[in-house]
Subunit: 286 residues, 2 copies
């Protein structure tokens, strides 16, 4: 069914079929094959990557090893080419379909590098708690869009979801105090970006949900697009394989859900402008 | 084919069919379903596990977190029930088939716990280099037998092989100096048992081999038995899932390949007796 995702549904509001929309609302995530939303997502992102990774500064976060790039934030603000990607009509159309037709902007963007042999884990967590507590976003009316910049396999630390948990609300967690090991001298907001999650969902809760719903690691070739809900419980293992697992991530937020807290976190973690994006190109994305 | 592994081949020397033997020699590993070699492997091992895990002492190695049990060594010496398992006729028969009919003994045994949420990685390595440098075993005439004590899935840190690399000889590695982080006060031999491998195969070598041969993570229900060569390149990711991944491991060695170095490592890492095992039960294992 996902092969029909781009522009063939006859739905004027966007490229996703009603079946795909229902699947997203049931599972909390949706994997689309390369080219479904915007043909040039992979090429533009891949072309920008070398420059993105070499720019030193606070928006670039290193792994615990202090050498390997873990993530670079704020790409939609610092790289015009990537800003353009966030406005591709088919991509925006799909996002709006999953956010009840609302106008949207990008609250946060980043690349997660997951370098070969060195890319560290992301512990089990939900995303929304960070945007709630950090930026005061009133509701979980956001959508994560992850573009695979490498093939994702069982070996290179795929994102792992507990399907259906996006409807469970805020899960019981433990708020880790202090700075994680290896980041003792970093600013406080860095504590939300490392392999040690600040808000750790209780192990008993994770086990119970995984027993009830199972786990799924969506896999696919470079260029695949993974859409997922800000409240779905997810994690990803370290990448011990010799192959990279870079992902470009856009976090779209409804313009009716703007931050109530501003200035607490850097602009590259919480976009201060929050202006509705205008589409570029055709809704079919081709 | 593996369903026919136990006692149906008509081969008087052991339970493995010629096809399975050929598969082992081609790939460097062989996965057999539960019950193929000895019906009670899982039950006996599972019954012994609670006692094994609570015995404090140098044969028990903790994870870097200093709390979680990583491995317990020397079980064939400390637990009569497990010693009995190592002598099950069908298991011994299969081992002898893969070691050219040689009499064998258990050079090392252990349980790797891979605890839920906490079981750490094993970096890419070959096993034989440790037995060569640590104990002076002249040749790689050994066989690893791993009994799954839990279901092994893509989520709980399965062993991952680069098939066919068992014929590549000793791969270029870097000998890590000093003690790994978290084990600074431990005896020197502990450096060979932690998440940071002492002999690290060069990343360029791993990448080249994985590109040429691919990677495989054998998965299966509890009770499955995984046989693998001491020179196959392998690793396993940390277990971030809520489900355990304990494995019981027997390392069989040919009696013609006895250690030339004795007394350097504790008895629970290198069996000093090296006496040919006599089989218990029927070769069909039922």
């Amino acid at each position: 069914m996902t092969h029909d995702a781009a522009g063939t549904s006859g739905d004027r509001r966007g490229p996703l079929t009603p079946e795909l929309i229902a699947q997203y609302h049931r599972d909390g995530f949706l994997l689309l094959p390369p080219g479904s939303l915007a043909e040039d997502l992979l090429d533009v992102a891949t072309a920008a990557l070398p420059e993105v990774l070499t720019e030193d500064g606070p928006a670039r976060v290193l792994e615990r090893d202090g050498r390997t790039v873990r993530s670079v934030y704020g790409l939609h603000r610092s790289h015009p080419g990537i800003a353009g990607l966030t406005r591709r009509a088919a991509l925006l159309g799909a996002v709006r379909q999953l956010l009840d037709g609302s106008d949207v902007y990008v609250h946060q963007s980043k690349v997660n590098v997951k370098a070969p042999f060195a890319g560290d884990q992301w512990e089990w967590h939900q995303d929304y708690v960070y945007w709630l507590t950090g930026d005061g976003l009133p509701r979980p009316d956001l959508l994560n869009v992850a573009v695979f910049l490498d093939e994702v396999t069982e070996f290179n630390g795929p994102l792992t979801f507990v399907p259906g948990t996006h409807t469970a609300g805020l899960l019981a967690s433990v708020d880790a105090q202090g700075m994680p090991l290896g980041y003792e001298d970093a600013p406080a907001w860095v504590a939300t970006l490392t392999a040690d999650e600040k808000f750790r969902v209780r192990h008993s809760v994770i086990e119970e949900l995984a027993r009830a719903h199972g786990m799924v690691s969506p896999k696919g070739p470079a260029g695949s697009v993974l859409l997922f809900h800000p409240n779905i419980l997810h994690s990803s293992a370290a990448n011990i394989s010799p192959f990279g697992r870079a992902m470009l991530m856009f976090v779209y937020n409804s313009v009716t859900n703007r931050p109530e807290v501003t200035g607490r976190r850097p602009d590259f973690l919480a976009d201060p402008e929050a202006v509705a994006l205008q589409p570029i190109g055709t809704p079919a994305g081709r």
